[in-house]
Symmetry: C2
Subunit: 298 residues, 2 copies
């Protein structure tokens, strides 16, 4: 069933809508160059994995696609802001991102800091429109999921662990916790925000999607670690080999290259089993996105 | 009527509840030192003007005080995060805040950046509890108000204007716009989030509170500009004279000291008239807070 599903046309159609909404919502009207910096950070780049997960999860629960565009863009804004701040000199000090100069290189550090801050606020603004088409309980639920995934229990907390882990060795459970917070939480929230677009979802369906999101989130990071040593900067659109250079613990440094690859495949199988266990039917796009995450080469 | 109201016992009682909630909600459990940095940024300092405005506005509309503690703390977290980022070397490069070393001096720049980011996320998390005591439409409305006030149309936008205004002269309308965004928006949102704690509010009451918030927000900044030249660092708990040293346009540099003082008094009168026009009765605390803002010496 899922083998017959072609991801490319599905994602092309959805990407067009995502890019359109992002360009509309991340307005150039923000004053004093802030809008330009925000748009530069968000537009014309990125695989849009998180928005695609939101839309695919919405499809899986047969929710309203139009509704899902708000959380799809909101989660991408959180991701984009985290990259802007993460690239700054006091963090990773990176000058290249998605093949372009990073935001602070292009606009200065102060503007980069503000652009990141404003993108985070805008993410929550998108989730709470003064629009009766989006039920208040859905708005509040979206905000709850996104705030937890972005904050100290999620992305920001994982980055703090990342900061202090440079040059240290971590155990596999410690590395897993860091990645589940730093990257996994937002990927999982993407799936859950998409699922929240259905008026009601049975516990089995929701549990399956959560398990899928958790396995996918970890798989994503394992593959990232693999690509950091096997791909070059041109493929990645960012500096390669940087984890090793910074003596950051990774799945490759911890397990070795082939066992890391095996782990990624095992996590893919886990994600697929979770979808089957969910009992949901229109899950082809979620299946295909999981395969794409694990088998990508950039 | 309002002359008989004693602000001190009112604010003492409310401050105790605010501090208690902040200490509960800004948890030390955030990993890898992040929790310590977040708590350092928020606790044991600050006048808590924004939380007091939320609680006073909630009283004015006879809303439920218990409910107002969430937006009261959320708006303070946004304020606190903005100070952390604003103090960083790439922005104002300030080493002293509330009489203590700034967060990046104490914990390093990377941790300060993350602590600010996590505080913003936590603010929205506080507004969306999984708690039936807070109606979803109230949660969504709070988030909408706070996100707009914190983002590119509000605080972050005002800071971007501030960045490019260093060493330039601004006209009075330009200076007013900058301040209304940078400081006024969050003060106004405080009043509106407090007002949102009542199940329903007539348009006249809401319009009055909005006008009050707008006048108060601007008055706050005019007085800040005055204190920057008249007070010393020990009184302010932060570096004094820094606007002049950085050639930032201020109300004092634009109008002169005495006209700036006259403007502050005129804005106080405006705020008080707006309260009268609101038709709301229990507005003594809002009156007293406006007097405190304008007549403070630190």
């Amino acid at each position: 069933m899922s083998a017959a599903f072609a991801l490319q046309p599905w994602s092309d159609a959805h990407l067009q809508r995502i890019e359109h909404c992002l360009s509309d919502w991340v307005t150039a009207e923000a004053p004093a160059g802030l809008g330009q910096a925000m748009r530069y950070a968000v537009l014309d780049g990125g695989k849009r994995l998180r928005p695609l997960l939101v839309l695919a999860a919405c499809e899986a629960v047969q929710g309203e696609a139009q509704l899902a565009l708000r959380p799809a863009c909101a989660v991408e804004l959180i991701h984009a802001y985290s990259l802007v701040h993460d690239d700054m000199p006091c963090m990773d000090n990176d000058v290249l991102r998605r093949g372009k100069p990073t935001v602070h290189v292009q606009f200065g550090q102060a503007q980069a800091l503000l652009a990141g801050d404003a993108l985070q606020a805008l993410a929550f603004e998108l989730l709470c429109p003064q629009d009766e088409a989006v039920a208040p309980q859905v708005q509040a639920h979206w905000c709850r999921l996104l705030a937890r995934a972005a904050g100290y229990q999620g992305m920001a907390g994982g980055q703090a662990i990342d900061l202090i882990s440079v040059g240290r060795s971590l155990s596999e459970p410690e590395l897993r916790t860091m990645h589940q917070m730093k990257t996994g939480a937002l990927l999982q929230a993407s799936v859950e925000m998409g699922a929240a677009c259905a008026p009601a979802l049975d516990p089995r369906g929701l549990a399956g999607l959560r398990d899928y999101g958790r396995a996918l989130g970890l798989a994503f990071q394992v593959v990232d670690d693999i690509l950091d040593v096997t791909a070059d900067a041109a493929q990645l659109g960012k500096t390669a080999g940087k984890d090793a250079a910074q003596h950051k613990p990774t799945y490759v440094s911890l397990l070795g290259l082939q066992p890391a690859r095996d782990l990624a495949q095992a996590l893919l199988a886990q994600a697929q089993q979770a979808l089957t266990a969910s009992g949901l039917v229109p899950v082809q796009a979620l299946h295909a996105l999981a395969r794409m995450v694990v088998n990508r080469d950039y």
